[in-house]
């Protein structure tokens, strides 16, 4: 088991800088998820930790030891690939034991480890099959098993569930969570799926175009995102961003006008920064943070275009003016008919961002 520390880690492919100085501290035994849109450098970061990519700048330490010049094989990590990367010509058993056998590990110990991994993952029945004869979920289990057998200090997962169907994904998610509890080992998990990030992580690292946008516990990111990108990325459906203009400031609050919603006004207490009167800003409201008319601090009328009924809740897609809003409502049959209704925004359940996307608190 080991902590993992990234200090000003930079990655360049030729002249292109892909990762711009990442600082991430991962505690021993922690489950950390790297999340971000496609191409933001998640895999690259993970592969640098694994030793499959050179580090162009900065330092990566595992268990307090700087790993920049340590071979991938000697870093004490195991990785589960998105494509599983099983050895196609070997049986499941051989896949699990290959690394140990090649390194002259005592036979009895190899057998013990393989047996234990098979038990943990419930793949005892499959030991004599080849990867081709397995389903996607079973292959994924074998890939994880191969990592377990190594008894690594750190587990790395690169989008391990993205090739599975939705149901299996949920099931495997739970199993990976359980595995982490059982083994108590540091795990770093890459995904572009924010739901996976939210459900699995002790802490989430949100990445965008090679920059670390924010690091924090799932609910901290949800409640208190550092900027508009994180606010939009965490949470599903996405947060609504409503155009607004500052119309009044006092020493503890500002009043903004929602320009696309008939001049509705909201008073928002502030702590740090006070934008100037007339400044264009953005109000962020999560779909689940709209309230019944009159219950909040600012009512806006909307017209529903499409309503998605999920059973427990319904999502109303409302094209109020030029801005599409997504509003979560209690599921109710009576409401299904009426298109026009009013929702209310609470000051404490909304966030402010300036035009560049930085948070205004």
């Amino acid at each position: 088991m080991a902590a993992v520390t990234l200090t000003n880690v930079v990655k360049r492919f030729g002249v292109f800088e892909i990762v711009h100085g990442a600082n991430i501290d991962i505690a021993d035994g922690e489950f950390v998820v790297f999340v971000g849109p496609s191409g933001c450098g998640k895999s690259t970061l993970l592969r640098m930790i694994a030793g499959l990519e050179d580090i162009s700048g900065g330092k990566i330490a595992i268990g307090g030891k700087v790993m920049n010049d340590v071979e991938a094989a000697d870093r004490g990590i195991a990785m589960v690939f998105q494509s599983y990367a099983l050895y196609p010509h070997m049986t499941v058993e051989q896949n699990l034991s290959f690394g140990l056998r090649m390194n002259g590990n005592p036979k009895a110990d190899t057998e013990r480890r393989v047996k234990r991994a098979a038990e943990i993952l419930c793949i005892d029945e499959l030991m004599q099959r080849r990867p081709k004869q397995l389903s996607g979920g079973q292959r994924q289990r074998v890939a994880i098993g191969r990592a377990i057998v190594r008894e690594p200090q750190v587990f790395l997962f690169d989008e391990p569930l993205s090739n599975l169907d939705a149901e299996l994904r949920v099931q495997m998610r739970v199993e990976i969570s359980r595995l982490h509890k059982e083994l108590g080992v540091t795990m770093i998990y890459v995904t572009h799926d924010q739901t996976e990030a939210m459900t699995l992580a002790d802490r989430i690292v949100v990445l965008k175009a090679g920059n670390v946008e924010q690091i924090g516990a799932p609910l901290d990111l949800y409640d208190d995102p550092a900027n508009r990108f994180v606010a939009g990325f965490i949470g599903s459906p996405k947060m609504n961003f409503i155009g607004a203009k500052v119309v009044e400031t006092s020493n503890s609050a500002i009043i903004i006008e929602l320009v696309n919603h008939g001049g509705a006004r909201l008073r928002k207490p502030l702590r740090d920064a006070f934008p100037a009167i007339g400044a264009e800003i953005v109000l962020g409201v999560r779909p689940e943070h709209f309230f019944e008319a009159g219950e909040g601090d600012c009512d806006i009328p909307i017209k529903a275009d499409v309503t998605e009924h999920l059973g427990s809740v319904s999502y109303v897609y409302a094209n109020a003016g030029p801005e599409e809003l997504i509003v979560e409502r209690e599921a109710s049959r009576q409401r299904a008919g009426s298109d026009h209704f009013t929702v209310s925004i609470k000051a404490e359940r909304s966030l402010l961002f300036d035009k560049s996307g930085a948070r205004i608190r």
Binding site: L52, A73, S83, A85, P88, H89, M102
Partner: protein
């Protein structure tokens, strides 16, 4: 659907006709000819005439021995060489890959007569570059064309030179179909590059290697060009005569088509038998 098929076959008719006349009929016909005495006209049906002669013919056994000797030495050496070449071609460190690929493939498209002439020159006793090189490192020169062992070696070298690159290109395609992440997984499993080659690359290349081996076996069973052109019709004294040459000599020099047909069928039968044994030996474990 029916009428579509019928139309398709009508379009195919000219091809099928030519295929039947120039391909299927000769195969059947030569089989029948192998049971006829063809030394004198008119040919007559005599089942044991050619096949009986074959069984007792020292020339046949000589040619068979030479062919099989070349087969068991040259094919494995060439395939091994081709694998090494393919791995080098696949190396990310290699510059100008396209050039090498072309160079490896070039021997196949060079005219056979030209290539043989150049080989004869290179290996000539007094003026050849090969003997000059041997002498320059203090070794005795070798009379490649007058002794059986060097002549056989020369045939094998020539065939290997001509076909190793071709096989390397095929194996390269196989190499490139092995996903990179399997090697990455093995690296993280602490498996050395050498062990990766023997435990991952080779097993995954097996189907391609078997394919190359089968092609080479079939090719070598019919070996003709090199012993005909380089060692001058199987010289010295029949020391490099192959089944292909024997067939040629019997069929087109002595015009003994019956015996030549029997030799041809023996070659084909052996090629099939060896290939089947090979496929059986390298079958996927169930």
């Amino acid at each position: 659907m029916r009428t579509q098929n019928a139309t398709a076959y009508r379009f195919l008719t000219p091809y099928l006709l030519i295929f039947a006349i120039f391909w299927i009929w000769p195969i059947i016909s030569s089989f029948l000819i192998s049971f006829q005495a063809t030394r004198t006209v008119p040919w007559r049906f005599a089942p044991a005439f050619n096949w009986g002669r074959l069984i007792g013919d020292p020339a046949f056994y000589n040619a068979l021995k030479n062919t099989l000797l070349i087969l068991v030495i040259q094919v494995p050496v060439m395939i091994s060489l081709a694998i090494v070449m393919a791995v080098l071609l696949n190396s990310p460190l290699l510059k100008a890959r396209g050039l090498y690929r072309f160079a490896f493939f070039a021997p196949v498209v060079v005219g056979e007569v030209a290539y043989s002439a150049v080989f004869r020159l290179m290996f000539s006793l007094d003026f050849g570059i090969v003997n000059k090189l041997l002498e320059s490192v203090g070794l005795a020169k070798i009379d490649w064309f007058s002794n059986v062992t060097p002549a056989m070696a020369l045939i094998m070298i020539a065939v290997t030179w001509r076909w190793a690159g071709y096989n390397a290109i095929i194996i390269l395609a196989g190499l490139q179909s092995i996903p990179e992440d399997v090697y990455e997984a093995a690296t993280l499993d602490r498996v050395s590059k050498l062990k990766q080659f023997f435990h991952i690359t080779l097993p995954l290349l097996k189907p391609v290697i078997v394919f190359c081996a089968v092609l080479s076996i079939i090719g070598t069973m019919q070996l003709f060009t090199e012993p005909f052109l380089i060692t001058e019709r199987g010289g010295p004294g029949g020391g490099t005569e192959t089944l292909g040459l024997l067939l040629y000599r019997q069929g087109f020099r002595s015009l003994n088509f019956g015996y030549a047909s029997a030799v041809a069928y023996t070659m084909a039968g052996l090629a099939i038998a060896i290939t089947l044994v090979q496929l059986w030996l390298t079958r996927e474990p169930k």
